[in-house]
Amino acid sequence: MIEITGLVHRYGPREVLRLESFSLAAGEACLLLGPSGCGKSTLLNILAGLLRPSEGAVVVAGEDLAGLPGAALDRHRGARLGIVPQKLHLVASLSLFDNLRLAQAMAGLPQDAARIAEVLAGLGLAEHAQRRPRALSHGQAQRAAVARAVVNRPQVLLADEPTSSLDDANAEAALALLQSQAHAAGATLVIATHDARAAARIPRQLRLAA
């Protein structure tokens, strides 16, 4: 599902990421570990098609990202990937239901209210569907961000620091949620974190050096 060969990424002359080879099968979960500045988020952004690598080949969900033109890359990201950003970034002017509709619309997929209702119910958010994000607790907002990431049945689920600033119980809940949703969708799960608590749950780990 994910194949990386000879990956190098630089910001200007400064090399921030080097990864000779890495692969992850469909349905597998993997942690990207390492200290701040080691390139975890850069790798996640490359996998998401938000950054073009300086060198190397990256194949995600069957697509060689280097060969995809901009528009096709955008469509690929919307339809096949689910992303949970660190700051969640739910759209404040839209209800929770509309945040999920936005995910379908931006991916160019048909509006499927039944699927949204199913996802929200599965995450215990059905009764909050018409609320705006600011009316949600942090835990609810986190589940909402996961709901948005999985509503299009992604083949790859990417999460950036999902447990940062969470206590143990909530960190445990967030990881369990991501794993369960990835499992339910049959998606490959990649979590970028420097949180050692995550290591106990997900045995497959890629450590990046600073």
Partner: protein
């Protein structure tokens, strides 16, 4: 969930900013719309009132005042002219038709005009009820005058001295309404027509019940005066000859409705242009405001735009979203402004109606309003272009990584 619904949701979430931008744009468009409607209708009306009249002869004074009083019935007359002089002018070879006007009285603010049947014929007026006057002290009302004075055929009324309705009433010499004219869209709608002899008889101050015809017959010829003569030329050459002839007469002056109307519009045109420029400044200020709002929105919404890109939106789609929002604001502001402009024209019309002035209405549409709509949309588009371009260049990874 499409571009319009995303834009609507966003604009709804910022009601104050949205309303301020709408109000600014709407005020600019409304100002220009009001000017368009008012000037177009007043020009049309003045043109209609003056179109069949080539020349006005009246007492010496301001030619514009003569036109305003004798053609548009807005100003006070310059004075009276001896009937003998008027008769002499009527006989001139270059005069095809001369319609006498005798002014001096009014009823509830509507001028009583002593004239002949040629005067309503000049405007192709038709009777809505009754008949034209046949003898002194019979009167026919214009449509607006009849409507607002609630007079109908067979009813009597007494004119008041003066043209503003504030003078003493001639109670001893009441008029009888014999007819009401159908609306003509001309000055006839707001006057009361009668014979010249009626005006003379009223001012003889006879005893109540005294025969007005006998009062007129008793008048010395030197006492008989007119206010003005509305003249139609026999041929275009008359335009070069007749005004000079009239002005050479000691008691008379000539004034051309076409020339004086054009002069009047040149004079008020400066004010109209100033107001129009003011309206344009408001529209431009609104454009600037929309630009600033969209630019600020870009900063406020950088996370939302980055999320949309993260969810699969192309840069072009973000650009279209911002352009759509600019156009949406502009279109809403323009439509609101057009509606407001028409409402203001209608309110102004009501005020003019109450002041017995030429009416205007808000219920007409002038083609230039389409240009106003285009101007507003162009402003919205221009205001949205830079924010839209910047939105399309959102660095998704960097924005999502912001703390």
């Amino acid at each position: 969930m499409n571009l319009p619904s995303i834009s609507f949701a966003y604009l709804r979430a910022r009601p104050l900013s949205t309303l301020l931008n709408l109000a600014l744009l709407a005020l600019g468009i409304a100002t220009i719309t009001l000017l368009l409607l008012a000037t177009r209708q007043l020009e049309d009306r003045m043109q209609r009132d003056a179109q069949a009249i080539d020349l006005v002869a009246g007492a010496k004074g301001s030619p514009m005042q003569l036109i305003l009083s004798a053609v548009f019935h807005l100003d006070a007359p310059t004075g009276n002219i001896p009937l003998a002089e008027a008769r002499e002018l009527e006989k001139h070879a270059m005069v095809k038709q001369a319609i006498p006007l005798a002014l001096g009285d009014s009823y509830k603010g509507f001028r009583i005009v002593g004239t002949t049947h040629d005067y309503p014929a000049l405007y192709e007026a038709r009777l809505a009820a009754g008949r034209l006057w046949g003898k002194p002290m019979e009167a026919v009302l214009g449509a607006q005058a009849a409507r607002e004075t609630r007079l109908a055929t067979g009813m009597q009324f007494a004119g008041a001295h003066g043209l503003d309705g504030g003078g003493d009433a001639h109670e001893s010499a009441p008029y009888v309404v014999t007819g009401v004219l159908a609306p003509t869209g001309s000055v006839l709608d707001r006057v009361v027509l009668t014979s010249v002899e009626s005006v003379w008889a009223v001012h003889q101050h006879g005893e109540p019940g005294e025969d007005p015809q006998k009062l007129v017959e008793a008048m010395h010829e030197d006492e008989k005066e007119l206010t003005a003569l509305l003249i139609r030329y026999r041929s275009p050459i008359a335009a070069a000859v007749l005004p000079r002839y009239v002005n050479a007469t000691p008691a008379l002056q000539a004034a051309s409705p076409a020339l004086e109307s054009a002069r009047l519009f040149r004079m008020i045109g400066v004010g109209v242009e100033v107001m129009r420029a003011f309206g344009l400044v408001l529209v431009m200020a609104a454009g600037l405001s929309v630009f600033i709002a969209l630019l600020n929105a870009l900063q406020e919404r950088r996370y939302d735009l980055a999320v949309m890109r993260m969810l699969g939106a192309s840069p072009g789609r973000l650009m279209r979203l911002m352009v759509f929002e600019g156009l949406l604001l502009a279109a809403a502001g323009a439509l609101l402004g057009l509606a407001l402009g028409h409402l203001m024209a209608e309110l102004l019309g009501a005020a003019l109606r109450a002041a017995r002035q030429p009416e205007i209405t808000g219920w007409i549409f002038v083609p230039e309003e389409l240009w106003l709509l285009a101007l507003a949309l162009g402003t919205g588009l221009a205001a949205a272009l830079l924010p839209a371009w910047r939105a399309s260049r959102t660095d998704v990874a960097a924005v999502l990584a912001e703390q």
